[in-house]
């Protein structure tokens, strides 16, 4: 039986294997070693939740701690990538993007285009996203739609340990800047993961489950909730097909259309806020390209248009639940119209 490891171990293993394969792969960010200047045996922490733990002992010349200045070290990553390294920088929480956004969207994303294809920016920004750990508004957002919107950036959002390792290796080997979104609630989830290095290509969705009655396109953590929803609906004889895009830029539109052609119904489960979200984007694409196949209105299940609340009770209501996804899928099948997305 194949080996099982966690989502967090899978990312760590991808970093380790790529750092070993290619000495130009460098990893840095706040506390990635374990505190500035700490020797190998003291690198107990390895990032705020321990994703880079142990790397300093193995590659002391390829990993470093940075000052608490995202504008400086994300900018340094862009420069390092432009001049021959393959940096993997950690923006601890994506909520901190504001102080380094110019470096990402106006520099990293633009340079290949501005230099007529002669410059490449092979950098990865690892970042945590999502609610669910009682970390309040400034550490809980799902801001991937903003990066998906920017041409020149690629956006990977793994939902499981297998994809996390393969997408990370692909991201490091890719010659374009990649935003790599790690969901903190998924860090402890396990999957079968090969010990050898491998890639998962960008722009190929995964069919998590095959079904006939309704397509659920789910992103990141929502994939797991969509599976629970599908289990709930199986007992009512509703068969759900679950499609996980894995990367939102590039987006595998064809796989989504292929599934909608079969089922004629679509639910999009997306933890981001509803306006200009992945849910609204995918709903629009399907409305535009699959109108003749649709047998009921597209349903979107998202967070409400509010910041993530700190109150645990409200936070639990904020994140889309498997029950809400199931309700939307059932309504799509029974043809019930109405608003099931943002409450």
């Amino acid at each position: 039986m194949a080996r099982k490891i966690t989502y967090m171990q899978a990312i760590n293993e991808a970093l380790e294997q790529e750092m070993r394969r290619d000495p130009t792969v460098v990893v840095f960010g706040e506390d990635n070693v374990g505190g500035f200047g700490s020797p190998g045996e003291l690198d107990a922490w390895g990032g705020v939740l321990g994703v880079t733990k142990g790397l300093y002992g193995k590659f002391p010349d390829q990993i470093l701690d940075t000052p608490i200045s995202e504008s400086a070290f994300i900018g340094a990553a862009v420069g390092a990538a432009a001049s021959g390294l393959r940096p993997v920088a950690e923006l601890m929480f994506v909520d901190f993007m504001g102080v380094c956004f110019d470096q990402i969207f106006n520099q990293a994303a633009k340079l290949r285009y501005m230099f007529g294809g002669k410059a490449k920016i092979p950098m990865v920004i690892r970042t945590m996203w999502g609610a669910g750990i009682r970390a309040a508004s400034q550490h809980s957002q799902s801001l991937y739609p903003i990066f998906t919107h920017i041409p020149g950036l690629k956006v990977a959002i793994p939902s499981n340990a297998y994809d996390a390792k393969g997408l990370m290796i692909q991201a490091i080997r890719d010659d374009d800047p990649v935003m790599f979104f790690e969901n903190k609630v998924l860090y402890a989830t396990e999957a079968e993961v090969p010990e050898e290095p491998y890639t998962v290509p960008f722009g190929e969705a995964s069919f998590v489950r095959e079904g006939d009655d309704v397509t659920i396109v789910a992103i990141g953590r929502m994939v797991h909730l969509a599976e629970q929803a599908a289990d709930q609906l199986a007992s009512r004889d509703i068969s759900c097909e679950i499609v996980d895009p894995r990367t939102t830029s590039p987006l595998d539109e064809e796989s989504i259309y292929e599934s909608v052609e079969k089922t004629g119904r679509l639910v999009v489960a997306d933890e981001s806020n509803p306006r200009c979200s992945l849910a609204s984007d995918i709903a629009a694409l399907v409305a535009q390209n699959c109108f003749e196949w649709l047998r009921s209105p597209v349903k979107m299940v998202t967070a409400p248009h509010t910041p993530p609340p700190f109150s645990p009770v409200l936070e639990d209501l904020y994140v889309p639940s498997s029950e809400r996804i199931a309700e939307a899928a059932r309504d799509a099948v029974t043809g019930k119209a109405g608003k099931v997305g943002a409450r």
Partner: protein, 370 residues
């Protein structure tokens, strides 16, 4: 004698199967290997075969229902066994049956690894009788799971090993000089296990490798079974070989894999995904390109063993699907009368999957004779 008809375990990852339909009525006579029910798994559909001769006295599984591996699907017994005895058998079984937990990896047989000339070979063994051991060799791009319908069925009286060839599955991806290194690693594998002589059964490229072992070390081979084998003629479908090597996405891979079967609906999305997962491992692309360039360049096979095998004293059984779209069945038809050739109808390049019952029966009988 009362015999249980259980949900089989096809491959390492199978935990449950859905009964699609019964192929035999209650009260009908059945023989070992007869297909009794059709079962769907995550990866592939197959037929549950009768484990013993007798009468199908009970059909317990409901069509459309999912059952765990090992669950009681039906009962085979003699006509002389009373209904009361059968009811007691069923009641006893159901009272004692505990389905294997999906997560309980210790329950099934686990793969092992052997170190051969600095390279790792993964293998799985079934059976432990004192018969001459056998080794199953998959084809180009395959792995030991390709024998999921055969491995256990063949292991009644002997240990049967299925391995991942170098460059494949979870074995080392370094194929060295290609075919020569792969054939050497097979002899090294027998050495590592302390096996003096073995029955070799190879599918497609695995057949050519087994033939190479016969040509170089005939004393190590008790018999040779060649299933839709490479190395028996000069043609091969370039569309398959080049397509398999080039395909990096689901849409490109699916039509290629459909060439493996007479019935293309056997290619599930899961099968395509599993092959792509393998192809995306570091080193696999290079391994496949090395082997393809050497053994199947431009739709030809430069390495042919027909003359060598004809002269060899090792017993040889050749099995082929009549509708093979990868290796032409003409290769089997043009073999001399010195070869035992079985051509199966309604069957493509994968007889061991599409006609598993017949292939298992042919090989079992062949091994017993050899």
């Amino acid at each position: 004698m009362i015999t249980k008809l259980g949900m089989p375990k096809w491959g390492l990852s199978m935990t449950e199967g859905k009964v699609l339909g019964w192929l035999v009525e209650e009260g009908e006579k059945v023989d070992v290997g007869d297909g009794l029910a059709e079962v769907e798994t995550e990866k592939i559909n197959g037929e549950v075969e009768a484990p013993a001769p007798g009468v199908l006295r009970r059909r317990l599984a409901t069509v459309g229902q999912v059952y765990p591996v090992g669950a009681l699907l039906g009962v085979i017994a003699d006509e002389s066994d009373s209904d009361a005895e059968i009811d007691a058998f069923v009641a006893d079984f159901q009272a004692a049956f505990v389905p294997e937990e999906a997560a309980d990896e210790a329950a099934g047989p686990a793969t092992q690894t052997a170190e051969v000339a600095g390279r790792r070979l993964r293998y799985l063994v079934h059976g432990e009788g004192d018969g001459v051991p056998a080794v199953l060799l998959h084809g180009f791009g395959g792995d030991l799971n390709n024998w999921l319908f055969n491995h256990e069925a063949l292991s009644g009286t002997r240990p049967v090993y299925a391995l991942d060839l170098l460059g494949h599955g979870q074995s080392s991806k370094d194929v060295g000089d290609g075919a020569a290194t792969l054939a050497q690693s097979l002899v090294g594998f027998l050495d590592a296990l302390g096996v003096e002589q073995a029955h070799l059964a190879g599918h497609s490229m695995g057949g050519a490798l087994a033939s190479k072992v016969v040509s170089e070390h005939p004393d190590r081979v008790a018999s040779l079974t060649l299933i839709a084998s490479a190395g028996l003629g000069s043609d091969v479908n370039r569309e398959y070989i080049d397509g398999f090597v080039a395909a990096d996405r689901r849409r490109a891979m699916k039509p290629v894999l459909e060439l493996l079967f007479a019935d293309p609906s056997l290619v599930s999305r899961q099968l395509v995904d599993d092959v792509l997962r393998y192809k995306r491992l570091d080193g696999v692309d290079q391994a496949l390109r090395t082997l393809a360039a050497q053994m199947f360049p431009e739709g030809r096979q430069p390495i042919v063993f027909t003359d060598t095998l004809e002269a060899a004293s090792v017993p040889i059984l050749v099995i082929w699907g009549e509708r093979d779209q990868v290796m032409p069945v003409a290769h089997a038809r043009s073999l001399s009368s010195g070869f035992t050739v079985e051509i199966l109808e309604a069957c493509g390049h994968s007889p061991h999957m599409e006609r598993a019952g017949d292939v298992n029966r042919l090989i079992t009988q062949f091994w017993e004779r050899a």
